[in-house]
Amino acid sequence: MNDLKKTRLNQLEEKKKLLRVKNEDKKTLIEVQNLKTYFPVVGGVFRKVTGYIKAVDGVSFSINKGEVFGLVGETGCGKSTIGKTLVRILEPTSGNIYYYDKVNLRNNQKQKVKIDLAKLNRKEMMPYRSKIQMIFQDPYSSLNPRFTVGDIIEEPLTVHSGKRKENKDTVKELLEKVGMSEEHIYRYPHEFSGGQRQRIGIARALSTNPELIIADEPVSALDVSVQAQVINLMQDLQDEFRVTYIFISHDLSVVKHIARRIAVMYLGFIMEIGPAEQIYNNPLNPYTKILLSSVPEGNPRKKAKKQPLRGEVPSSLHKPEGCCFHPRCPIAQEICKKEDPLFEEQKKGVFVKCHFPGKF
């Protein structure tokens, strides 16, 4: 945002898109407040809106610089929607996405500000699109089959730097960083295996030197023996570039391995958020506990300690009253059917959405 003129700064400030920050919030990179993303459901001849799918229904969390933040949950819980809303591929219905940034004022002083990505228009969003990059799940469909690998990695560079040439060296460097070589530049995606394509996707995400990478199920489509390679690569790159990751996955073992802090989602809500160790060793929300107990251990002598979950995930079109988990919860009481529990801090850094945290 160095090119922002002071006048622009004031304009943004007036429209409440930008807030000045005191130096206390040094570590925070992104702060999400009460974010909601709804999808309208239309029906009838006149395409009238008949209801909303509340994919993300009021989530709040913040992520520090250099952190690996894991987002886990089952299919349809809204974890990918959060990822896409943060980069504004999807439009948030309400809520704030504060991105912490430094801005150069006219007198060359730096001012820490937080910018509400949810309110920016297309043009204002541009600089942040290079700072926040995404890695997609399916390496077979997220690369353009008509582009060479070089073009794929170069495209974000051309778009964001405006330069047409001089990018080739950067592309070579990036390919080497992700464990591929210069000779791959002129080849096409179909010539590569899934693991290699995912490496290309990672190189593309790194090309703009981002501060935040949102990885949406980056290893789910890969073979087991290749998964480990990509996970290790992502960890190495994090050490090297100090980027922040939001790692979205349904695979709890993978998330535990890579993430330092974890949020568990269910039906568009965050049920529990906290340090990885805490979540895995001492889950406070019954849903987290059941979810973890469903993961097969990979030890043939230690099976069946599971508490299988009753019933099915309700539709996010008609969510249950009260706590969204109560129809399936083993310890649900009367209050759970009526009142939606608050998302409260139970221990330091551990937020839980439950009337009876730790009772199960």
Partner: protein
């Protein structure tokens, strides 16, 4: 696991299946020998392209010909050679004595027929039931696989069911004729962990109920194998690499591929800073390496691995491995 007098249910001998792809021969299954006993939960584990699904389809003779062809081998099911049966006799076995659960519950149900009809169909074909009886039986099946209010849901269409429920319906269809052998091809891969736990429990329950039947579970997930199976076969590039009891395989894996696979999986309980890695990629079906197919990725590679395909060696009772590292130890089998 080792019960007395285990009766052989299925015996496959030197099965070879290939596909013709663009004029080239792709050997998807290359000499598989396996035995499945009554009352057994048998696992086949391998990555994509290892030939595990083709093995299953070959057993049921569901390989599309052309381009595929079962070129060699014998498949004995209750001492009948399936490969010599007429098409008509084979039809009587499919869905009746051997049935299969497919990977994608989303696509393997016909969207134009009700759930009830799809469960009734095998009953009417194989058991000569009339519609009324079949419907009653299908409601009973739905109840067995844990679908609530089955009387109402029996007339629903597949799109009204969630993924986990569709897989339950698939299981209900597969079990409707009370088969002796159930082949489940990645039954939980498309499902969430909580639903996976439910389905695996259901399958274990089914197996425990009928002592003379067996289940073959095909998966890429070793943890699922650990949870359910008695015996495991590890496949890579169309060949058996290791066969052992589940406990033996997990506590004493012999093949470098099995070892590597186990070390590369992150675990909930063990803590590790870095994952071990098997370098390289799974070779494509048209470019299986000569010699031991795993040699380009193997840490313990020796000159002989590039030239000769190792034999499947017996290391101890019930534990077989295909690797040159053990050639001095094991007996050829």
């Amino acid at each position: 696991m080792a019960k007395k007098e285990q009766k052989e249910l299925l015996k496959v001998e030197n099965l070879k299946t290939h596909f013709m792809i663009e004029g080239k021969k792709a050997q998807a299954v290359d000499g598989i020998d396996l035995k499945v006993f009554e009352g057994e939960f048998f696992g086949i584990v391998g990555e994509s392209g290892s030939g595990k699904s083709v093995t299953a389809l070959s057993i049921l003779r569901l390989i599309p010909d052309p381009p595929g062809k079962i070129s060699n081998g014998k498949i004995f099911f209750r001492n009948r050679d399936l490969l010599n049966l007429s098409w008509e006799d084979m039809r009587k076995i499919r869905g009746n004595e051997i049935s299969m659960i497919f990977q994608e519950p989303m696509t393997s149900l016909n969207p134009l027929f009700t759930i009830g009809f799809q469960i009734m169909e095998p009953l009417m074909v194989h058991r000569n039931m009339d519609k009324k009886e079949a419907k009653a039986a299908s409601i009973e099946m739905l109840r067995k696989v844990g679908i609530s209010s089955p009387e109402l849901r029996v007339d629903d269409y597949p799109h009204q069911f969630s993924g986990g429920m569709r897989q339950r319906v698939m299981i209900a269809i597969a079990l409707s004729c009370d088969p002796s052998l159930l082949i489940a091809d990645e039954p939980t891969t498309a499902l969430d962990v909580t639903v996976q736990a439910q389905i695996l429990e259901l399958m274990t329950e089914i197996k425990n109920k009928r002592k003379d039947s067996a289940i073959i579970l095909i998966t890429h997930d070793l943890a699922v194998i650990a949870e359910t199976c008695d015996r495991v076969m590890v496949m890579y590039c169309g060949k058996i690499q290791e066969v052992a009891s589940t406990i033996n395989l997990f506590e004493n894996p012999l093949h470098p591929y099995t070892k590597g696979l186990m070390a590369s999986i992150p675990s909930l309980t063990r803590k590790k800073k870095r994952l071990n890695v098997i370098k390289g990629n799974v070779p494509g079906i048209l470019s299986f390496p000569p010699g031991c197919p795993f040699h380009p990725r193997c840490e313990y590679r020796m000159p002989i691995c590039e030239e000769a395909v190792p034999e499947l060696l017996k290391i101890e009772k019930g534990h077989f491995v295909r690797c040159h590292l053990y050639s001095h130890k094991g007996k050829q089998e």
